[in-house]
């Protein structure tokens, strides 16, 4: 039995301790907002927060995160996440949208830690999140927009 604390709820799951957190979240907890893109921590589609830190759920076995506070896009609802989503929709950032759960989670973590990120800060925080639709330019603008709204 593995005990995972996801979005404040405790889930006791009878799963392989090696199972990546991504598949536990998607297949066993039933939350599918967190996406699968590469499985090797190269794309960021699976970004969740673990104790507030942006982390790649595809490359973390559940045994390594038992007992830690895991937050997925479904629970991204605080003032920072709301400001990020408001900027994302105002600027129509998403195209296919598949990467955007990860982009929103990565950006939320950035703004939680740094309310006035520079372009270099944004590059550093988001260069691990691929967007094959190349919405990068709008993401950058939206990060600044969200930061201003939070100021």
């Amino acid at each position: 039995m593995i005990e995972l604390t996801i979005n404040g709820a405790v889930h006791r799951l009878d799963i392989d301790p090696d199972m990546p957190l991504l598949w536990a979240i998607r297949d066993h907890v039933g939350l599918t907002g967190t996406k699968f893109g590469c499985g090797i921590a190269q794309c960021g589609a699976c970004t969740v927060h673990i104790d507030g830190q942006p982390s790649r759920a595809c490359s973390l076995p559940v045994s390594a995160v038992a007992g830690q506070a895991i937050t997925t896009i479904e629970a991204a609802s605080g003032p920072v996440a709301k400001a990020v989503q408001a900027a994302w929709t105002a600027l129509d950032v998403p195209q296919c949208g598949y990467c955007q759960s990860g982009q929103v989670m990565a950006t939320t973590a950035l703004l939680e830690a740094n309310r006035k990120p520079s372009d270099a800060d944004i590059d550093a925080a988001l260069s691990g999140n691929l967007c094959r639709c190349a919405t990068y330019a709008r993401i950058r603008t939206a990060v600044h927009t969200a930061a201003k709204a939070l100021a």
Partner: protein, 742 residues
């Protein structure tokens, strides 16, 4: 060009239809579609000719049923805009879903209407009339219902922002009158709005309908489909293209917890399990023996060498031959020649391929997926399942990208999903989910090509002869499309006599329809055969033809000492759309003005899918010789700009997609084995490499043309031309990261 070929294919089987507008009752609402004179008996599943395009529910929501699949390009929003405009709906009441299963209704109008499909940047063109008429018909029925209800003349009824009203003070939402409207007969004819009355078409303030869902994890893609009892399958594909299964041992895998079965299917094996992780663990435990005697075992370097040799010979077919280019070049004051090499490239959409299949108790089949060619997949799936196509319902999901990958003709992932479900007797729904490695290894790449170009100029620097020989695989050869795609006034006999392969127009588009006025020109094609499966990749032929042409033209300009922008303009009809976008991009970018030290500009022009795009890039050289693309100024002519902000988004996306590809993306073979199988080795554009993009849309009253692909072709050559301006080096081998360019 693809559109023209598809039209030709379609026209062979069907003449243009006349539409009658129809309506049918749906649970207290209004539903509008067209009754095609040939479609009366064509209804299948839940879709009838009457509820095909627009449904209005009692809660006032207006749902458009889109004939085109949305892979991120925003076609659902474009279609909703067209309907809402004529219906005078409020944007906030609009919804959009995908439709399928009835080519008479959803056939791609830009391809002649015979089959449903999304591709060649035709979505808006195909929808332009059909969905405006549907919106106008629904509006007229609502007006008639209000007039009857309020006993006032129809001419006195107004509709604005979803509210039906009359000067007497009466008003109603659409939902209130939808059922009554539905009881009326549909109008035989409708008038469409004068463009000056448009409030939604061209409105820059409209936001996409799905941005919030996509920003909050609520958008469901095929990977997110959940069905009771559903199992997950992962494939085991042959290690080499063309290898076949000899034997396999699944005993260890089947003993693992969570593994349900290991089954054979026409494309290899699959491990079926209760969840993705169990399927992946099971896959590691399967041993398989493959017969690779007929497999493709060449390396990319072998193919490039062969292609380069072929490029030196005359082409096996000629796509265009105006004047006597060879003689003109022989007599030219100066000639110049260059050979370009393009790699295979995987589409690498972020959602790896997948499909979900369920057989219901009544024997009907349902398939969820990113169906870019739903009619073809429906037929393929029906044949495997052993049911008539009418018993297969296609649920069109939005997808995490595609870039053409989901328009595969052989329906690969769908075939696997259905075959696997059948192999377990359809006892549970099956989600076939490929991993990133499966997705990148399983073929269907942009074909590799070699282009050899040669030009001759007279003493004044004018081009007297132009020659382009393209060597590479055909995308349509061996598909049912070959028959419709090969005849275009080209010399078929030389092709048939040579190697019996069809002349694939997608190999030469963007090379044989240049807007430049050359005194004489010849475009040759040599179609090759390899075991590597290929496919259309965002912008198709123009992903390589535009690069070769626009870089080479820059070389000719440099040879003659002319400015690359001025030189292009001198070759264009000044009144053409090509000249207009080129001029606009140059003006907005400040072409010719001084730049800070270390900054350089490049320019390129390309028409694809009847949309003209010019781009001027600005690069900043770093001390180590690398560079960053800082700014791209893009001008586009795409007819009426239905959703201007989405046009900008598609240009931005096309630029980022194309830039990553020319800089670093490639799929290479090592003795037949795919080397780049995930994003660690198959590199794509990352966040910090994205330039600032500025898009200028040429105002136009022409019918709209597509924007999903045409942003891609110019970026590569524009950047390469800027690199030349900075370094005097020409980048002839793609991607730029290749050592040959160092």
């Amino acid at each position: 060009m693809l559109a023209k070929m598809m039209t030709r294919l379609a026209n062979a089987t069907q003449s243009r239809r006349s539409f009658m507008i129809g309506s049918a009752a749906v649970a207290g609402g209004l539903a509008v579609g067209f009754r095609s004179t040939e479609a009366a008996s064509a209804a299948t599943g839940g879709v009838t000719p009457f509820n095909a395009y627009v449904r209005i529910a009692p809660d006032n929501s207006v749902t458009v049923i889109a004939a085109h699949m949305d892979m991120g390009q925003g076609i659902y929003d474009a279609i909703a805009t067209l309907v809402a405009e004529e219906l005078d709906a409020d944007w906030s009441q609009m919804k959009a879903i995908g439709g399928a299963g009835n080519p008479k209704l959803y056939g791609n109008a830009a391809w002649g209407g015979a089959i449903q499909g999304t591709g060649g940047s035709t979505g808006t063109t195909s929808s332009w009339e059909r969905y405006r008429i549907a919106g106008a018909a629904a509006r007229q029925m609502l007006v008639a219902a209000a007039a009857a209800e309020w006993r006032v003349p129809a001419s006195e009824i107004r509709i604005a922002k979803g509210l039906i009203s009359h000067a007497s003070g009466r008003s109603a939402g659409f939902g209130e009158l939808a059922a009554k409207a539905d009881a009326l007969s549909a109008p035989a004819n409708v008038a469409l709005k004068d463009p000056k009355d448009w409030v939604l078409i061209g409105n820059d303030k409209l936001r996409r309908l799905d941005s919030m869902a996509k920003s909050s994890g609520k958008m469901d893609y095929t990977i997110d489909v959940k069905l009771p009892g559903m199992l997950t399958a992962v494939p085991i594909h042959p290690p080499l293209f063309g290898a076949t299964l000899t034997s396999f041992d699944a005993s260890k895998a089947k003993a693992l917890k969570g593994v349900v079965d290991v089954v054979q299917h026409p494309r290899g094996l699959a491990v079926v399990a209760v969840d993705m992780w169990s399927a992946l663990k099971g896959r590691e435990a399967v041993t398989a023996v493959w017969d690779d005697s007929k497999a493709e075992k060449r390396s990319s370097a072998d193919l490039a060498r062969e292609y380069r040799e072929l490029a030196l010979k005359p082409g096996l077919a000629t796509a265009r031959n105006d004047g006597n280019a060879e003689a003109a070049m022989a007599g030219a004051a100066r000639t110049i020649e260059a050979t370009f090499e393009f790699p295979y490239i995987a589409h690498a959409a972020l959602e790896p391929l997948n499909a979900v299949v369920r057989r219901n108790a009544d024997g009907t089949i349902e398939i969820w997926g990113g169906h870019q060619m739903p009619d073809i997949y429906q037929g393929t799936a029906a044949a495997i399942a052993g049911v008539p196509p009418s018993q297969v319902t296609m649920h069109v999901m939005k997808t995490g990208g595609s870039f053409g990958r989901r328009a595969v003709i052989d329906a690969d992932v769908i075939v696997e999903a259905v075959a696997v479900a059948k192999a377990i007797d359809f006892r549970a729904p099956v989600k076939m989910q490929w991993t990133r490695e499966d997705d990148m290894r399983a073929g269907r790449y942009r074909p590799a090509y070699v282009h050899r170009l040669k030009a001759g100029v007279d003493k004044d620097g004018r081009i007297v002869g132009w020659y382009n020989h393209i060597v590479g695989q055909s995308i349509v050869a061996g598909t049912p499309f070959a028959a419709g795609l090969v005849k275009n006034g080209v010399d078929m006999t030389s092709v048939e006599g040579a190697n019996n392969l069809p002349f694939d127009m997608t190999s030469v588009e963007g090379a044989n329809n240049l807007p430049y006025r050359f005194a004489a020109q010849k475009v040759d094609l040599t179609t090759t055969q390899t075991g590597v499966p290929v496919l259309w990749w965002r912008a198709v032929g123009s992903t390589h033809t535009a690069y070769a042409v626009e870089v080479f033209l820059d070389e000719v300009a440099a040879l003659t000492g002319k400015d690359p922008y001025e030189y292009r303009m001198s070759l264009l009809d000044p009144a053409s759309k090509h000249a207009r976008v080129l001029k606009l991009a140059a003006e907005k970018a400040g072409w010719g003005s001084a730049l800070p030290a270390g900054r350089f500009r490049g320019i390129a022009l390309a028409e694809s899918f009847e949309t003209e795009v010019a781009q001027v890039v600005e690069i900043a050289m770093r001390p180590d010789g690398s560079f960053k693309v800082e700014r791209v100024v893009c001008a586009v002519h795409c007819g009426v700009a239905v959703n201007p902000d989405n046009i900008r988004a598609q240009m931005e996306g096309g630029i980022g997609f194309g830039l990553g590809a020319v800089m670093k993306s490639q799929t290479t073979l090592d003795k037949g084995r795919v080397v780049e199988t995930n994003f660690d080795s198959h590199e794509v554009l990352r966040f910090d490499e994205m330039p600032v993009v500025e898009v200028h849309i040429v105002p136009s009253t022409d019918a709209p043309t597509g924007v999903g692909e045409p942003g891609v072709p110019p970026i590569g050559p524009a950047v390469a031309n800027a690199v030349f301006a900075a370094t005097k080096r020409r980048l002839h081998v793609l991607p730029f990261a290749r050592v040959e360019n160092a």
